[in-house]
Amino acid sequence: AAEDIKIGVDSGPYPPFSSPDASGKWVGWEIEMMDAFCAEAKLTCTLSPIAFDGLIPALNAKKIDAIMSSMSITDERKKAIDFSDKYYNTPTAIIGPKGVKFEPTAEGLKGKVIGVQVSTIHAAYVQKYFAKSVAEVKEYQTQDEANNDLAAGRLDAIQADLVTLNDFLKTDQGKACCELKGNVQDDPAILGSGVGVGVRKEDTALKDKFNAAIKAVRANGTYDKISKKYFDFNIYGK
Protein backbone atom coordinates (compact mmCIF):
# COMPACT_ATOMS: atom_id res chain seq x y z
CA ALA A 1 0.00 0.00 0.00
CA ALA A 2 1.12 3.50 -0.67
CA GLU A 3 2.25 5.66 2.21
CA ASP A 4 0.07 8.67 3.07
CA ILE A 5 1.90 11.93 3.50
CA LYS A 6 0.92 15.58 3.72
CA ILE A 7 2.82 18.13 1.73
CA GLY A 8 2.78 21.76 2.81
CA VAL A 9 2.47 24.53 0.27
CA ASP A 10 2.42 28.29 0.79
CA SER A 11 -1.22 29.28 1.10
CA GLY A 12 -0.62 32.46 -0.88
CA PRO A 13 -0.65 32.31 -4.67
CA TYR A 14 2.84 31.86 -6.12
CA PRO A 15 2.33 31.50 -9.84
CA PRO A 16 3.49 29.85 -11.96
CA PHE A 17 4.62 27.36 -9.33
CA SER A 18 1.60 26.97 -7.13
CA SER A 19 -1.66 28.84 -6.87
CA PRO A 20 -5.29 27.96 -6.28
CA ASP A 21 -7.67 28.26 -9.19
CA ALA A 22 -11.26 29.37 -9.12
CA SER A 23 -12.49 25.91 -8.32
CA GLY A 24 -10.27 25.80 -5.27
CA LYS A 25 -7.86 23.35 -6.90
CA TRP A 26 -4.14 23.96 -6.70
CA VAL A 27 -2.34 24.26 -10.00
CA GLY A 28 1.11 25.14 -11.27
CA TRP A 29 4.44 23.65 -12.20
CA GLU A 30 5.33 22.68 -8.69
CA ILE A 31 1.97 21.02 -8.09
CA GLU A 32 2.36 18.91 -11.22
CA MET A 33 5.87 18.09 -10.18
CA MET A 34 4.58 17.05 -6.78
CA ASP A 35 2.16 14.64 -8.46
CA ALA A 36 4.97 13.26 -10.54
CA PHE A 37 7.26 12.73 -7.55
CA CYS A 38 4.55 11.15 -5.48
CA ALA A 39 3.49 8.82 -8.25
CA GLU A 40 7.11 7.81 -8.77
CA ALA A 41 7.74 7.26 -5.06
CA LYS A 42 4.40 5.49 -4.57
CA LEU A 43 3.24 8.03 -2.04
CA THR A 44 -0.32 9.20 -1.58
CA CYS A 45 0.18 12.91 -1.17
CA THR A 46 -2.34 15.36 0.25
CA LEU A 47 -1.72 19.01 -0.27
CA SER A 48 -1.92 21.23 2.77
CA PRO A 49 -1.83 25.01 2.34
CA ILE A 50 -0.03 26.80 5.13
CA ALA A 51 1.30 30.33 5.54
CA PHE A 52 4.84 30.38 4.16
CA ASP A 53 6.41 31.41 7.44
CA GLY A 54 4.54 28.62 9.16
CA LEU A 55 5.78 25.83 6.89
CA ILE A 56 8.86 24.88 8.88
CA PRO A 57 7.11 25.04 12.27
CA ALA A 58 4.28 22.97 10.83
CA LEU A 59 6.73 20.40 9.51
CA ASN A 60 8.42 20.09 12.85
CA ALA A 61 5.07 19.98 14.63
CA LYS A 62 4.21 17.04 12.32
CA LYS A 63 1.23 18.83 10.90
CA ILE A 64 2.80 18.09 7.53
CA ASP A 65 5.46 15.63 6.38
CA ALA A 66 7.15 17.52 3.59
CA ILE A 67 7.40 21.00 2.11
CA MET A 68 7.23 21.67 -1.59
CA SER A 69 6.84 25.37 -1.83
CA SER A 70 9.75 26.78 -3.78
CA MET A 71 11.78 26.64 -0.63
CA SER A 72 15.47 27.08 -1.35
CA ILE A 73 18.03 24.92 0.34
CA THR A 74 20.02 27.16 2.67
CA ASP A 75 22.38 26.57 5.56
CA GLU A 76 20.16 28.53 7.88
CA ARG A 77 17.15 26.35 7.12
CA LYS A 78 19.22 23.23 7.29
CA LYS A 79 19.65 23.93 10.97
CA ALA A 80 15.96 23.28 11.43
CA ILE A 81 15.00 20.79 8.72
CA ASP A 82 16.53 18.67 6.02
CA PHE A 83 16.18 18.91 2.26
CA SER A 84 16.10 16.54 -0.68
CA ASP A 85 18.27 17.26 -3.70
CA LYS A 86 17.23 20.32 -5.64
CA TYR A 87 14.45 20.01 -8.16
CA TYR A 88 14.80 23.45 -9.65
CA ASN A 89 17.04 26.44 -9.45
CA THR A 90 16.48 29.87 -10.87
CA PRO A 91 18.25 33.17 -10.47
CA THR A 92 17.07 35.92 -8.20
CA ALA A 93 16.03 39.18 -9.76
CA ILE A 94 14.75 42.63 -8.96
CA ILE A 95 11.90 44.42 -10.68
CA GLY A 96 10.73 47.99 -10.38
CA PRO A 97 8.41 50.54 -11.92
CA LYS A 98 8.80 51.48 -15.55
CA GLY A 99 10.59 54.65 -16.33
CA VAL A 100 12.77 54.68 -13.25
CA LYS A 101 16.21 53.41 -14.06
CA PHE A 102 18.33 51.72 -11.42
CA GLU A 103 20.73 48.84 -11.04
CA PRO A 104 19.90 45.81 -8.87
CA THR A 105 22.70 46.69 -6.49
CA ALA A 106 23.04 48.32 -3.12
CA GLU A 107 24.06 51.51 -4.86
CA GLY A 108 21.14 51.45 -7.27
CA LEU A 109 18.58 50.79 -4.56
CA LYS A 110 19.71 53.65 -2.40
CA GLY A 111 16.75 55.42 -0.74
CA LYS A 112 14.19 53.09 -2.23
CA VAL A 113 11.50 51.00 -0.59
CA ILE A 114 11.98 47.36 -1.41
CA GLY A 115 9.54 44.53 -0.85
CA VAL A 116 10.13 40.82 -0.29
CA GLN A 117 8.10 37.88 0.88
CA VAL A 118 8.52 37.13 4.54
CA SER A 119 10.77 34.22 5.54
CA THR A 120 12.25 33.79 2.09
CA ILE A 121 15.86 33.71 1.01
CA HIS A 122 15.19 37.06 -0.61
CA ALA A 123 14.28 38.55 2.73
CA ALA A 124 17.59 37.26 4.08
CA TYR A 125 19.51 38.52 1.05
CA VAL A 126 18.00 41.98 1.19
CA GLN A 127 18.75 42.10 4.87
CA LYS A 128 22.38 41.37 4.27
CA TYR A 129 23.14 43.37 1.12
CA PHE A 130 20.60 46.17 0.85
CA ALA A 131 19.32 46.90 4.34
CA LYS A 132 21.85 49.68 4.86
CA SER A 133 21.21 51.53 1.63
CA VAL A 134 17.46 51.23 1.10
CA ALA A 135 14.94 53.49 2.81
CA GLU A 136 12.81 50.60 4.01
CA VAL A 137 12.39 46.87 3.63
CA LYS A 138 8.77 45.73 3.62
CA GLU A 139 7.95 42.13 4.21
CA TYR A 140 4.82 40.54 2.83
CA GLN A 141 2.97 37.42 3.80
CA THR A 142 2.55 36.42 0.18
CA GLN A 143 4.39 37.25 -3.01
CA ASP A 144 1.34 38.53 -4.82
CA GLU A 145 0.75 41.14 -2.16
CA ALA A 146 4.22 42.47 -2.75
CA ASN A 147 3.53 42.52 -6.48
CA ASN A 148 0.31 44.34 -5.87
CA ASP A 149 2.01 46.97 -3.74
CA LEU A 150 4.60 47.56 -6.42
CA ALA A 151 1.83 48.13 -8.91
CA ALA A 152 0.11 50.39 -6.39
CA GLY A 153 3.20 52.54 -6.16
CA ARG A 154 3.88 51.70 -2.55
CA LEU A 155 7.14 49.93 -3.40
CA ASP A 156 10.05 50.97 -5.58
CA ALA A 157 11.41 47.48 -6.08
CA ILE A 158 10.78 43.82 -5.38
CA GLN A 159 13.35 41.12 -5.09
CA ALA A 160 12.17 37.60 -5.76
CA ASP A 161 12.66 34.54 -7.85
CA LEU A 162 13.13 35.46 -11.52
CA VAL A 163 10.53 33.04 -12.74
CA THR A 164 7.73 34.20 -10.54
CA LEU A 165 8.63 37.81 -11.27
CA ASN A 166 8.53 37.17 -14.98
CA ASP A 167 5.15 35.58 -14.54
CA PHE A 168 3.95 38.71 -12.81
CA LEU A 169 5.41 40.94 -15.52
CA LYS A 170 3.37 39.02 -18.05
CA THR A 171 0.07 39.84 -16.37
CA ASP A 172 -1.91 42.95 -17.35
CA GLN A 173 -1.05 44.56 -14.08
CA GLY A 174 2.64 43.77 -14.37
CA LYS A 175 2.86 44.82 -17.99
CA ALA A 176 1.33 48.17 -17.19
CA CYS A 177 3.50 49.13 -14.31
CA CYS A 178 6.79 47.37 -14.06
CA GLU A 179 9.83 45.95 -15.67
CA LEU A 180 12.82 43.75 -14.89
CA LYS A 181 15.83 45.57 -13.52
CA GLY A 182 18.16 42.60 -13.61
CA ASN A 183 19.48 39.72 -11.55
CA VAL A 184 21.19 40.26 -8.24
CA GLN A 185 24.68 39.05 -7.65
CA ASP A 186 24.62 35.46 -6.50
CA ASP A 187 25.45 34.44 -2.94
CA PRO A 188 24.93 30.70 -2.60
CA ALA A 189 25.32 30.94 1.16
CA ILE A 190 22.08 32.85 1.33
CA LEU A 191 20.33 32.22 -1.94
CA GLY A 192 21.08 28.57 -1.56
CA SER A 193 21.71 25.90 -4.07
CA GLY A 194 18.30 25.45 -5.59
CA VAL A 195 14.91 24.41 -4.35
CA GLY A 196 14.43 21.11 -2.60
CA VAL A 197 11.73 19.17 -0.79
CA GLY A 198 11.86 19.97 2.88
CA VAL A 199 11.57 17.06 5.31
CA ARG A 200 12.09 16.52 8.99
CA LYS A 201 15.68 15.78 9.94
CA GLU A 202 14.92 12.34 11.28
CA ASP A 203 12.88 11.44 8.23
CA THR A 204 15.74 10.18 6.06
CA ALA A 205 13.63 7.45 4.49
CA LEU A 206 11.26 10.04 3.03
CA LYS A 207 14.19 12.15 1.92
CA ASP A 208 15.69 9.20 0.10
CA LYS A 209 12.38 8.48 -1.58
CA PHE A 210 12.18 12.03 -2.87
CA ASN A 211 15.77 11.95 -4.04
CA ALA A 212 15.11 8.79 -5.98
CA ALA A 213 11.89 10.17 -7.39
CA ILE A 214 13.55 13.39 -8.53
CA LYS A 215 16.24 11.40 -10.27
CA ALA A 216 13.73 9.12 -11.93
CA VAL A 217 11.38 11.89 -13.04
CA ARG A 218 14.28 13.78 -14.57
CA ALA A 219 15.57 10.67 -16.26
CA ASN A 220 12.30 9.44 -17.74
CA GLY A 221 11.41 12.75 -19.40
CA THR A 222 8.43 13.63 -17.23
CA TYR A 223 10.33 16.57 -15.79
CA ASP A 224 10.94 18.14 -19.17
CA LYS A 225 7.43 17.42 -20.36
CA ILE A 226 5.88 19.27 -17.47
CA SER A 227 8.41 22.09 -17.57
CA LYS A 228 7.82 22.73 -21.26
CA LYS A 229 4.21 23.66 -20.50
CA TYR A 230 5.39 26.47 -18.27
CA PHE A 231 8.86 27.59 -19.28
CA ASP A 232 10.88 28.13 -22.40
CA PHE A 233 14.19 27.68 -20.62
CA ASN A 234 15.88 25.17 -18.41
CA ILE A 235 14.27 25.51 -14.99
CA TYR A 236 16.52 22.89 -13.42
CA GLY A 237 19.54 25.11 -13.73
CA LYS A 238 23.03 23.90 -14.07
Binding site: S11, P49, N60, K62, D144, D172
Partner: protein
Amino acid sequence: MGPTSFDLNLLSLWSPGWGGVLLAGLMRSLEVAVGGFLLGLLIGIGGASAKLWGGKVLRDLLEVYTTVVRGVPELILILILYYAGTDAVNKLMLVLGLPSVDISGLAAGIFVIGVVQGAYSTEVLRGAIKAIPAGQLEAARAYGMSPLLSLRRITLPAMLPYAIPGLSNLWLIATKDTALLAVVGFSELTLVTRQAAGTTKAYMMFFLAAGVLYLLVTLLSNVILGAIEKRARRGLSREQAA
Protein backbone atom coordinates in the same frame (compact mmCIF):
# COMPACT_ATOMS: atom_id res chain seq x y z
CA MET B 1 -7.61 43.96 -14.69
CA GLY B 2 -6.77 46.29 -11.88
CA PRO B 3 -7.83 46.38 -8.28
CA THR B 4 -10.80 48.48 -9.30
CA SER B 5 -12.27 45.89 -11.57
CA PHE B 6 -15.72 44.84 -10.53
CA ASP B 7 -16.20 41.93 -12.87
CA LEU B 8 -19.08 40.27 -11.13
CA ASN B 9 -18.56 37.13 -13.19
CA LEU B 10 -15.65 36.49 -10.88
CA LEU B 11 -18.18 35.91 -8.13
CA SER B 12 -20.07 33.28 -10.07
CA LEU B 13 -20.42 30.03 -8.22
CA TRP B 14 -18.73 28.00 -10.91
CA SER B 15 -15.22 28.20 -12.26
CA PRO B 16 -13.85 30.58 -13.47
CA GLY B 17 -15.96 32.40 -10.89
CA TRP B 18 -14.66 32.21 -7.33
CA GLY B 19 -18.09 32.26 -5.65
CA GLY B 20 -18.00 28.55 -4.96
CA VAL B 21 -14.61 28.84 -3.33
CA LEU B 22 -15.81 31.69 -1.17
CA LEU B 23 -18.86 29.74 -0.04
CA ALA B 24 -16.71 26.71 0.72
CA GLY B 25 -14.48 29.02 2.77
CA LEU B 26 -17.54 30.35 4.56
CA MET B 27 -18.60 26.82 5.38
CA ARG B 28 -15.15 26.09 6.79
CA SER B 29 -15.34 29.27 8.84
CA LEU B 30 -18.73 28.29 10.18
CA GLU B 31 -17.57 24.76 10.95
CA VAL B 32 -14.69 26.11 12.97
CA ALA B 33 -16.89 28.73 14.62
CA VAL B 34 -19.54 26.21 15.61
CA GLY B 35 -16.99 23.66 16.76
CA GLY B 36 -14.93 26.22 18.61
CA PHE B 37 -17.97 27.75 20.23
CA LEU B 38 -19.26 24.37 21.42
CA LEU B 39 -15.85 23.30 22.67
CA GLY B 40 -15.59 26.65 24.41
CA LEU B 41 -18.99 26.08 25.99
CA LEU B 42 -17.89 22.69 27.25
CA ILE B 43 -14.71 24.15 28.71
CA GLY B 44 -16.81 26.99 30.08
CA ILE B 45 -19.24 24.72 31.91
CA GLY B 46 -16.39 22.77 33.44
CA GLY B 47 -14.41 25.90 34.16
CA ALA B 48 -17.32 27.75 35.74
CA SER B 49 -18.23 24.77 37.91
CA ALA B 50 -14.65 24.37 38.99
CA LYS B 51 -14.27 28.06 39.68
CA LEU B 52 -17.41 28.09 41.79
CA TRP B 53 -17.20 24.80 43.58
CA GLY B 54 -13.74 23.45 42.88
CA GLY B 55 -10.67 23.24 45.06
CA LYS B 56 -8.32 26.12 45.64
CA VAL B 57 -5.60 24.92 43.31
CA LEU B 58 -8.00 24.23 40.49
CA ARG B 59 -9.55 27.65 40.93
CA ASP B 60 -6.20 29.37 40.77
CA LEU B 61 -5.12 27.43 37.71
CA LEU B 62 -8.34 28.40 35.98
CA GLU B 63 -7.74 31.98 36.99
CA VAL B 64 -4.37 31.81 35.29
CA TYR B 65 -5.96 30.29 32.20
CA THR B 66 -8.67 32.92 31.88
CA THR B 67 -6.30 35.75 32.68
CA VAL B 68 -3.72 34.69 30.14
CA VAL B 69 -6.19 34.02 27.38
CA ARG B 70 -7.93 37.32 27.92
CA GLY B 71 -4.72 39.29 28.14
CA VAL B 72 -2.91 37.98 25.07
CA PRO B 73 -3.95 38.83 21.52
CA GLU B 74 -5.98 36.09 19.86
CA LEU B 75 -3.65 36.15 16.90
CA ILE B 76 -0.71 35.17 19.06
CA LEU B 77 -2.68 32.56 20.96
CA ILE B 78 -3.74 31.07 17.68
CA LEU B 79 -0.17 30.88 16.46
CA ILE B 80 1.07 29.33 19.68
CA LEU B 81 -1.78 26.88 20.02
CA TYR B 82 -1.78 26.02 16.35
CA TYR B 83 1.80 24.83 16.47
CA ALA B 84 2.31 24.01 20.12
CA GLY B 85 -1.10 22.43 20.59
CA THR B 86 -0.61 19.78 17.93
CA ASP B 87 3.02 19.41 18.87
CA ALA B 88 2.04 18.73 22.45
CA VAL B 89 -0.61 16.21 21.47
CA ASN B 90 1.90 14.34 19.38
CA LYS B 91 4.55 14.45 22.10
CA LEU B 92 1.96 13.09 24.48
CA MET B 93 1.10 10.29 22.07
CA LEU B 94 4.77 9.52 21.80
CA VAL B 95 5.10 9.31 25.57
CA LEU B 96 2.06 7.06 25.71
CA GLY B 97 3.61 4.92 23.02
CA LEU B 98 0.84 5.65 20.56
CA PRO B 99 1.37 6.59 16.93
CA SER B 100 1.28 10.29 16.26
CA VAL B 101 -2.16 11.43 15.32
CA ASP B 102 -2.97 13.30 12.21
CA ILE B 103 -4.55 16.51 13.41
CA SER B 104 -6.46 18.06 10.59
CA GLY B 105 -6.49 21.79 10.04
CA LEU B 106 -10.15 21.76 10.98
CA ALA B 107 -9.55 20.01 14.27
CA ALA B 108 -6.65 22.32 15.05
CA GLY B 109 -8.75 25.36 14.21
CA ILE B 110 -11.61 24.19 16.40
CA PHE B 111 -9.19 23.44 19.19
CA VAL B 112 -7.62 26.87 18.99
CA ILE B 113 -10.87 28.82 18.84
CA GLY B 114 -12.32 26.56 21.52
CA VAL B 115 -9.51 27.19 23.98
CA VAL B 116 -9.83 30.93 23.48
CA GLN B 117 -13.62 30.86 23.76
CA GLY B 118 -13.44 28.59 26.78
CA ALA B 119 -11.82 31.32 28.85
CA TYR B 120 -14.58 33.77 28.07
CA SER B 121 -17.30 31.14 28.43
CA THR B 122 -16.01 30.30 31.86
CA GLU B 123 -16.50 33.87 32.98
CA VAL B 124 -19.88 34.27 31.31
CA LEU B 125 -21.27 31.09 32.83
CA ARG B 126 -19.80 31.75 36.22
CA GLY B 127 -21.38 35.19 36.26
CA ALA B 128 -24.69 33.73 35.14
CA ILE B 129 -24.72 31.07 37.82
CA LYS B 130 -23.91 33.67 40.42
CA ALA B 131 -26.76 35.81 39.16
CA ILE B 132 -29.33 33.18 40.11
CA PRO B 133 -31.07 34.37 43.27
CA ALA B 134 -29.65 32.27 46.10
CA GLY B 135 -33.11 31.51 47.42
CA GLN B 136 -33.97 29.42 44.39
CA LEU B 137 -31.06 27.09 44.95
CA GLU B 138 -31.88 26.98 48.63
CA ALA B 139 -35.47 26.05 47.83
CA ALA B 140 -34.15 23.18 45.72
CA ARG B 141 -32.13 21.94 48.67
CA ALA B 142 -35.00 22.43 51.06
CA TYR B 143 -37.18 20.15 48.95
CA GLY B 144 -34.68 17.34 48.99
CA MET B 145 -33.05 17.71 45.61
CA SER B 146 -29.63 16.15 45.32
CA PRO B 147 -26.84 18.46 44.12
CA LEU B 148 -26.81 16.86 40.69
CA LEU B 149 -30.56 17.04 40.27
CA SER B 150 -30.62 20.63 41.36
CA LEU B 151 -27.84 21.45 38.88
CA ARG B 152 -29.81 19.87 36.07
CA ARG B 153 -33.27 21.05 36.99
CA ILE B 154 -32.63 24.42 38.60
CA THR B 155 -29.13 25.85 38.23
CA LEU B 156 -28.56 25.32 34.52
CA PRO B 157 -31.98 26.37 33.25
CA ALA B 158 -32.22 29.25 35.71
CA MET B 159 -28.84 30.53 34.61
CA LEU B 160 -29.71 30.58 30.91
CA PRO B 161 -31.34 33.99 30.70
CA TYR B 162 -28.31 35.54 32.35
CA ALA B 163 -25.84 33.62 30.21
CA ILE B 164 -27.39 33.98 26.81
CA PRO B 165 -26.46 37.60 26.12
CA GLY B 166 -22.84 36.82 26.90
CA LEU B 167 -22.89 33.60 24.94
CA SER B 168 -24.46 35.36 21.98
CA ASN B 169 -21.63 37.80 22.05
CA LEU B 170 -19.15 34.95 22.18
CA TRP B 171 -20.72 33.31 19.17
CA LEU B 172 -20.35 36.51 17.18
CA ILE B 173 -16.76 36.79 18.32
CA ALA B 174 -16.16 33.18 17.32
CA THR B 175 -17.38 33.79 13.78
CA LYS B 176 -15.04 36.72 13.44
CA ASP B 177 -12.07 35.13 15.17
CA THR B 178 -12.00 32.41 12.55
CA ALA B 179 -10.63 35.07 10.23
CA LEU B 180 -7.45 35.08 12.27
CA LEU B 181 -6.80 31.51 11.18
CA ALA B 182 -6.00 33.03 7.78
CA VAL B 183 -2.67 34.04 9.21
CA VAL B 184 -1.68 30.42 9.76
CA GLY B 185 -2.93 29.51 6.29
CA PHE B 186 -6.14 27.78 7.24
CA SER B 187 -8.49 27.95 4.26
CA GLU B 188 -11.40 29.75 5.83
CA LEU B 189 -13.32 32.60 4.27
CA THR B 190 -10.78 35.36 4.78
CA LEU B 191 -7.88 33.33 3.41
CA VAL B 192 -9.70 32.08 0.32
CA THR B 193 -10.81 35.64 -0.23
CA ARG B 194 -7.23 36.74 -0.15
CA GLN B 195 -6.24 33.97 -2.54
CA ALA B 196 -9.04 34.89 -4.91
CA ALA B 197 -8.16 38.56 -4.65
CA GLY B 198 -4.47 37.89 -5.14
CA THR B 199 -5.00 35.70 -8.14
CA THR B 200 -7.53 37.90 -9.88
CA LYS B 201 -6.23 41.23 -8.55
CA ALA B 202 -9.84 42.22 -7.84
CA TYR B 203 -9.02 43.02 -4.23
CA MET B 204 -11.82 45.46 -3.59
CA MET B 205 -14.53 43.26 -4.95
CA PHE B 206 -13.54 40.11 -3.12
CA PHE B 207 -12.97 41.76 0.22
CA LEU B 208 -16.32 43.49 -0.07
CA ALA B 209 -17.97 40.21 -1.00
CA ALA B 210 -16.47 38.51 2.02
CA GLY B 211 -17.56 41.42 4.18
CA VAL B 212 -21.11 40.94 2.99
CA LEU B 213 -20.95 37.23 3.83
CA TYR B 214 -19.67 37.92 7.34
CA LEU B 215 -22.28 40.59 7.83
CA LEU B 216 -25.02 38.23 6.73
CA VAL B 217 -23.83 35.68 9.25
CA THR B 218 -23.87 38.33 11.97
CA LEU B 219 -27.28 39.68 11.09
CA LEU B 220 -28.81 36.23 10.77
CA SER B 221 -27.23 35.22 14.06
CA ASN B 222 -28.67 38.33 15.68
CA VAL B 223 -32.15 37.38 14.60
CA ILE B 224 -31.85 33.81 15.82
CA LEU B 225 -30.09 34.72 19.05
CA GLY B 226 -32.68 37.39 19.70
CA ALA B 227 -35.42 34.78 19.44
CA ILE B 228 -33.56 32.35 21.69
CA GLU B 229 -32.94 35.06 24.23
CA LYS B 230 -36.54 36.10 24.24
CA ARG B 231 -37.55 32.54 24.92
CA ALA B 232 -35.00 32.10 27.67
CA ARG B 233 -36.18 35.28 29.32
CA ARG B 234 -39.83 34.42 29.29
CA GLY B 235 -39.77 33.82 33.03
CA LEU B 236 -38.15 37.15 33.79
CA SER B 237 -40.20 40.25 34.40
CA ARG B 238 -39.18 43.50 32.82
CA GLU B 239 -37.24 44.82 35.78
CA GLN B 240 -35.29 41.61 36.11
CA ALA B 241 -34.52 41.54 32.44
CA ALA B 242 -32.99 44.99 32.55
